[in-house]
Amino acid sequence: MVRQVLIVAALAFVPGLGQAIYFRDKVSWQSPVPASEMVTVAQARAWGGNAIWVDARPDNEFARDHVPGALSLNEDRWNELLPQFLAAWSQEKKVVVYCSSQSCNASREVARRLRNEAQLKNVFVLEGGWEEWLRTNR
């Protein structure tokens, strides 16, 4: 029986490994969000004028306070806000999307739409979000 268990376990390993290789770009083995899509506050600030900051939070939160120079782009008024974001965008820019904190999902959703719908490259989610930016800046 042990021999059978080992054979079945080994057989299943082959397609499993194949799938892991096939999906290697879609999932990060280090963290739940693909590493290639996240950026730290330090890294984003280092990009200087090459970065476009996008605030994915609702209008009232953006109005209260936001990263200086950041553009508001949220899913409540996506169609209205997208054109003005695209006006500021150009191909060499790096887009940094943030929302309130690490756990908030809005930034990932906005980033996903920019990548999939507008098909923009170099779209990143800010690690730690607005909370992290406040912590390292004020």
Binding site: M1, Q4, L6, L11, A12, Q19, A20, V27, Q30
Partner: protein
Amino acid sequence: MNQLSTIPQFVWRIADVIVGGVFIYAGAIKVLDPVQFANDIDNYKILPWTIGVGLAFYLPWLEIFCGLALILRLLYLGGLSILTALLAVFLGATIAAKIRGLDITCGCFGHASQHWNFSVHLALDLLLLVALISLLLRSERVFRSA
């Protein structure tokens, strides 16, 4: 255990095919979206993320192959033992999650099963467990007496 031997052979074969089919289905659904499965495993907060990802790629195929083993009667005992062990471990993980007050949204059948209500799931899973254990006990007897 003597009652088991009074059940005719073909009933056991039907059980094999049904149980095997269920696990092949469960495995196939998870093969289609391993990233989602990795996130579901992570929700239990028992394993580190890296191991969860590895399992997300491996476990669904293991389920499929074990399901096939049951249906084709190839490497039968191996497949059966693995499935029983998997179900037992999964039960333990769920108890642990419930005690810790975590709410797990999805598991075995992937997001396809979100529509089902609790009693249907309950009945299905208990039935699976009973079927697996009976099959295991019966085949151990058969193989030991063979």
